[in-house]
Amino acid sequence: MTLAVQFTDVSRVFGDVKAVDRVSIDIQDGEFFSMLGPSGSGKTTCLRLIAGFEQPSAGSIRIHGAEAVGLAPYQRDVNTVFQDYALFPHMNVRDNVAYGLKVKGVAKSERLTRAEEALGMVALGGYGERKPAQLSGGQRQRVALARALVNRPRVLLLDEPLGALDLKLREQMQGELKKLQRQLGITFIFVTHDQTEALSMSDRVAVFNKGRIEQVDSPRNLYMKPATPFVAEFVGTSNVLRGELAQQLSGSAQPFSIRPEHIRLQDGLSQAAASGEVEISGLLHDIQYQGASTRYEIRLENGQNLSVSQANNQWQDSTLAHQPGQRVTARWAREAMIVLRDNAPREGL
């Protein structure tokens, strides 16, 4: 399988801020690849490096095998869907979509046909005459998508394209983007800070933190086998236990993560733990009813908080079983504990 985009030790420095710090990634041709991270983690800078809006301070970027460092955006076979859509306000929708073809000198009749085709692909046929200002946010987003896809790029870059949409529309667009990507078979590189979005759409996800990549993996592995405390806490919610407590529970000083939904709750003090199980008691101090599940917050003896989530999958309401102020025991299977790489002090920094 060929690589769509390959980063080798890429850094981008702004003043004395390392926005991207020695990042290496291999993005396969035809995959839906997400870059996930909090704001300022370097994911958008990586996208801009691929598009050519930024040049790396060091390292090599290859797009379909060819070195891209030094190439201007208009010399690259990639297209971008911008966060603010960046539609040209003085052109109607059709001219916006046909723009890429126009500047490349495609004949008028062909570019109009292709623009109409691209608009049809995003279910906006017949909107060609409208100005971007006359469209809703969701429609503008589709126009931006059509405008990028009409050029038949081999790599499509999406910079938090769903961020400005409301929840229902966002979920709908997630499904449509995924479908579109499968149909077209081109590489999608999707930047987002929303972990649900990244998990539900992607073939693989890279988790960014402070300019570096913490983990690149499939959504399932990212959730089930987080490699670092950051990934464990950023992707879904997690209890990360460290130090003495970790030693006592897992027998190793390495930090480990336990998901709230993998913990079971019992009233009262700890009894003898079943084999292959770990248990710890604490004070239940808060209960949040969340519909499909209920979240219990437990204060452990060393003051640390432990979140426990219990599914409300019985017709009875399990919330009534526990009361704040009660002493409870939390127990979980040994295999549910995921030992994390404690990467706080990094080599070479």
Partner: protein, 316 residues
């Protein structure tokens, strides 16, 4: 511990000032009316009213023999605008206004572009001051200074001689409609002074328009394969046209109404402004002066209609 949300709110004091404040809060339109009344009175009565009175006087009769104005309505003054002598004045002023606007736009655009896209902080402040500073000096002094700069033996002449371009200047000054005996008595000289004086009025609106241009639009254009010149022609220029239009409205109307530069620089011959000045000042023919005042108003109305037709305001 029981927290109560029923704590009594502090009772609103019932003073007249409070009641007024409450009234204004409940009736926002009243508030708006109070706020707008003074400027509307000023604008309506003093500004607009006096303009209408002036134009109305354009219909009064001026008696050439007794040099008196009588309030008998006539269209003679408006008809007189189309006499060849007056028509020439209008045409001369109009051509100058168009030429000045075009040249200002071409000179202003690169400066405005640089200011909007490549300067920040202190550099930007420096450019603002550099553009505005000429406006702080008295306009008449600047016009006089230019008569000296452009005079025979002046700085401009010296510079042209140093460059060895004297024959070129002589040739240009020989072109009818452009030239004159020296730079300071030529149409070209007058044009240069006009462009100098009105340039800031062109730079600032274009700069404002370019500043509003989101950088992502330019990135999107490059991303879609447009080379820099294509981005300029397809995106930057169309979106800066509202700014150019706004600037040209300034340069165009200011040139149409000016009466000082045409007197100080350039060949003899009236401009609309100087004609108005002479008619109402030296001759006392207020009705004819008022009729002339109508000309720039009509020309600018036509100009705005054309600009609007061209779609300059679509991107606003």
């Amino acid at each position: 511990m029981q927290l109560s949300l029923n704590a009594p709110l502090p009772r609103p004091t019932a003073g007249p000032l409070h009641r007024l404040a409450n009234l204004l809060y409940r009736k926002p339109n009243l508030y708006l009316a109070m706020l707008l009344l003074p400027p509307l009175l000023w604008f309506g009565a003093i500004y607009f009213g006096s303009l209408l009175t002036l134009l109305w006087q354009g219909l009064y009769t001026f008696d050439d023999f007794s040099m008196t104005v009588t309030p008998e309505l006539t269209l003679a003054n408006l008809k007189a605008l189309f006499q060849p002598a007056n028509y020439d004045i209008i045409l001369r002023t109009l051509c100058m206004a168009v030429a000045v606007s075009l040249a200002s736009a071409m000179l202003a655009f690169p400066i405005a572009y640089y200011m909007a896209r490549f300067t920040t902080g202190k550099t930007k402040a420096f450019f603002y001051i550099a553009v505005m500073m000429p406006m702080w000096a008295s306009y008449i002094v600047k016009a006089y200074a230019w008569t000296l700069l452009l005079a025979k033996g002046g700085v401009a002449q010296w510079f042209v001689d140093q460059m060895g371009l004297a024959p070129v200047l002589q040739f240009i000054l020989g072109i009818p409609g452009v030239g004159g005996s020296t730079l300071s008595t030529s149409h070209l000289g007058r044009f240069l002074v006009f462009v100098y004086i009105w340039l800031p009025f062109m730079i600032l609106p274009i700069q404002a328009a370019l500043e509003r241009l989101p950088p992502s639009l330019l990135q999107a254009s490059a991303d879609l394969g447009a080379k820099p010149w294509q981005t300029f022609v397809q995106v930057i220029l169309p979106l800066s046209i509202p700014g150019i239009a706004a600037g040209s409205i300034f340069t165009f109307s200011l040139t149409l109404g000016d009466f000082i530069v045409p007197q100080l620089v350039g060949p003899p011959g009236f401009f609309i402004g100087s004609m108005v000045y002479v008619q109402q000042g030296a001759i006392g023919n207020m009705p004819m002066a008022a009729a002339f005042t109508l000309v720039p108003i009509v020309l600018i109305a036509i100009y705005l209609a054309i600009v609007k037709r061209l779609g300059a305001f679509d991107a606003l």
